[in-house]
Amino acid sequence: MNKILFIDDAQISSMRDVERRIHPARKYEGNPVVTSDCDWEGAETTLGTVRKEADRYRMWYQSYASTPDPDGIDSFIRSLHLYAESDDGLAWSKPALGMTEDSTGSVANNIAFVRPGFSKDINPSVLHRPHASNGHTYTMLSYGVGYDLPYNGHFVAYSDDGLRWRDGPQTPVIPGFGEGGCFIYDEVDETFRGMIAWDPSDTHLFSTQSADALEWSLPRPVLTPDEADTEWAGGESDKRTLFPAMPITRYGPVLLGFLQVLRGHGVGVGFDGEMDVQLVSSRDGKTWHRVGDRHPVIERGSDDSSWDSGLVWMGNSLVEDGDRVVAYYTGCQRTPGALARSRWSKSIGTASWPLDRLVGLAARGDGGVETTATAAAGQLHINADASRGQVTAALLDEDGSAIEGFSTVDCNALTNSDSLDHAFEWSGGALSSLEDRTVHIHLTLRDAELFSLWWSDDR
């Protein structure tokens, strides 16, 4: 099934009187769903990765914990790679893995992995390669710093089950660069993709690819704040917009980026600000486009007392689950100076959209969208909200005239209804007569919003 999404213009031939509308994810009322509530966890709890495998949600997250030195001399901070599970993605358990000693000397905890010798081992992305061999079903990329390391950078680890990890090369696969690295394995292109920063003083995000997670391409700058991003600063020199990181994910035909947009002011310990998540998209992983009017897709909590009022950011944590798209994100309460503090309280929450409904094309009154596709024998489906209006479809031939029997008036319109999956039928008969023919699909909207479109093979 080749789905057509309207997040960007790539699959649109023409459109009239519609606007691209961004829909912030709807937050779960019981947020946060994961907090630091175990003795071995520090105050910071950050994503990480969330996946759904079979009927189980799996979460890899982090905490930074003060732990006795193995020599018993002093304590030091360890970056803990922690693991949690859930049946519904809302109620999470922290299983006793019995693998790593915590600060109390017990192994009855959910610590999956700790790298000795690392003073920092952060921003892990857990990537799943279902057909990988040699115990490489899971690949973890994280950013490491340590006195005994040859140098800092992005390190690799491997696992069969996502719990027992083995170190990859002893030197970083990407030397240096900044801490804010986000990685995916793109099953469509069978490519590892990374989005990394150069250093805190550089405002660009860089894109890199790899076939094996070991040899990476030269990172190239793909995004930097533009004038629209910095408009809020009103020209004041101590106000800056930064892009600290951008988790990316494959979503059907597009790559989505969840751009962390930080609006900060002040310098040094006085630096303060707010961060939310905007949507960016790409068809090739090289050229990235800001989506619509840049309204946040994950919004900060609306009042200062909420747990995620200050900063929100995604991890490698977008999960397609039936009729929903579920996001997990880290949140931090709005507290003055939080950005400059080394320790702050963060938790993990969840939010979701109905399937494909992150971005839509909406018409107030009459509007139209035209796209081109190869017809299949089955049915043409749309995901649209026409609860106060209507969406109709016509199939046009190459010169733009309606194919007989497949005009707007011949179709069963979606009228006064909201459907994630509405199948069009035409009085012209079955679509099998058009199979493999290139057709223009003309959708007419009246007070409706269109999210996606696809052909099924159902006859």
Binding site: V145, Y147, L149, P150, Y151, N152, G153, T171, I174, P175, G176, W198, D199, D202, H204, F206, T208, E215, W216, S217, L218, P219, R220, P221
Partner: protein, 453 residues
């Protein structure tokens, strides 16, 4: 003639005993510096750049600070000079760009109004085809840019985007004819033993615009830091490494900054003097420090024009029996003055052929080379003026080849860049088309290279 066996590393040494690897600093020209940027509209700041010799003419591409004040202060313009002997340089009138005096009768070869560049790495690349007989790589602002030219003077920028984003500001490049690859060494800051330091990372490209992710090639190790005696304010950094092909080896001149403000609030680690040491590689990936790391290029004494900060450049020239390195230097340490006030000039140091590094026996010593394709005659570049050298040839099983025994070898007791070893036996004339190891016995002598013809 077979590739020369060089003793800069151990790759072609099967075994040795009683020998030490000696690094020979370049001999500086008595009348250095050979080039100063002292026209009245220049600030005195010079930066190499490239020197190469083509068709009997030395050609130099260098940067010169232009403008004493304001926005131009410290900004480099790119200049071109020529010389017949590499010592007396003339500044040709290229007529391309207007200088601060309003004249185009000057030697400026890149548009001063374009983005400011550092380190003109000019490479002769006829293999790249028409329009690309020369390739220039230089750093500016967001990254490293490439330009092409047919004459080395009129340049076309390949793209307005850098071919290597970031990894600046120091970067040196060479075109390796043997492997038909562009090779680069670019600067990166990494955390090494708890400090953010300059290191140099290697990268390669087939075409000068698609480059691999730079990976650390030379990182300051604990030996580099010994001089600090644990003082947290001090640290060694790898400031830059011009690299080049020399026979079967890749060599690099490592500029090591001995930073004395490593805990500086800005983390810039700017204050300090430099050493220039030698590194070598057989594959361009693994780089080895040579010998005891002693200086291959000595800094001048305090107060001399090159007594504060000394830098090598892409300027190693093989000229007959002479090897030349053009370098730039200043009389005060890096960071001791504001950058715009730096006064730097270009000097010359030289070696005799292959004599950067040798294996020396103060008494008796012996080495056996790895098997190499043999020819009719064995040559050595050696100084045995205080002793002697004899040789014998071994087959691949390690057995002495009849007629090429040490006992029948005529001892060499001179100092020659090319001495042909002779044996008394007539059989010694027939020794080609086999792989042979060479066993050299040295007494109070030093050998720099050997080869068969």
């Amino acid at each position: 003639m077979t590739d020369r066996v060089l003793f800069i590393d151990d790759a072609q040494v099967q075994s040795m005993e009683g020998l030490q690897r000696c690094i020979h600093p370049g001999e500086k020209f008595d009348f250095n510096p050979v080039l100063r940027c002292d026209r009245k509209w220049e600030s005195g700041q010079s930066m190499l750049g490239t020197v190469m010799k083509e068709e009997g003419v030395y050609r130099m591409w260098y940067g010169s600070g232009v403008g004493q004040h304001g926005d131009n202060k410290g900004r480099l313009w790119h200049m071109y000079a020529e010389s017949d002997d590499g010592i007396e340089w003339r500044l040709p009138s290229l007529g391309q760009f207007t200088d601060p005096e309003g004249s185009t009768r000057n030697n400026v070869f890149l548009d001063p109004e374009s983005r400011p560049h550092q380190y003109s790495n000019v490479m002769s690349t006829p293999r790249m085809g028409r329009g690309r007989r020369y390739t220039l790589l230089s750093f500016s602002g967001p990254g490293h840019y490439v330009r092409f030219s047919d004459d080395g003077l009129n340049w076309t920028e390949w793209s307005s985007e850098p071919v290597i984003p970031r990894f600046g500001d120091v970067g040196f490049y060479t075109y390796d004819e043997r492997d038909q690859l562009f090779r680069g060494m670019v600067k990166q800051y990494l955390q090494v033993r708890g400090r953010r330091r300059r290191i140099q990372s290697r990268t390669v490209s087939a075409d000068a615009y698609d480059w691999t992710l730079p990976r650390p090639a030379v990182i300051p190790d604990e030996i580099d830091d010994e001089w600090t005696h644990g003082d947290p304010d001090k640290a060694s950094e790898i400031y830059g490494i011009p690299i080049f092909r020399y026979g079967s080896l890749l060599l690099g001149f490592v500029d090591i900054l001995r930073s004395t403000d490593a805990m500086g609030t800005l983390g810039l680690n700017n204050q300090g003097v430099t050493d220039v040491q030698l590194i070598s590689s057989r594959d361009g990936q693994t780089w080895e420090r040579v010998g005891d790391r002693s200086r291959i290029l000595e800094m001048g004494r305090r107060g001399e024009w090159d007594g504060g900060f000394i830098r090598s450049a892409k300027s190693f020239v093989e000229d007959g029996d002479e090897l030349r390195l053009y370098y730039f230097a200043m009389d005060h340490p890096h960071g001791a003055q504001k950058k715009g006030d730096w006064k730097r000039a270009v000097g010359l140091a030289s070696w005799q052929r292959d004599r950067l590094v040798g294996l020396r026996a103060d008494e008796l010593g012996e080495l056996i080379s790895v098997p190499i394709p043999a020819g009719n005659q064995l040559h050595v570049n050696a100084d045995a003026s205080g002793g002697q050298i004899t040789a014998e040839l071994l087959n691949e099983a390690g057995t002495v080849v009849p007629g090429f025994e040490r006992d029948t070898c005529l001892p060499f007791d001179g100092d020659s860049l090319d001495h042909t070893i002779k044996w008394r036996s007539p059989a010694s004339r027939d020794n080609h088309d086999e792989n042979r190891s060479v066993r050299l016995s040295l007494q109070d002598a030093e050998v720099f290279s050997l080869w068969f013809s």
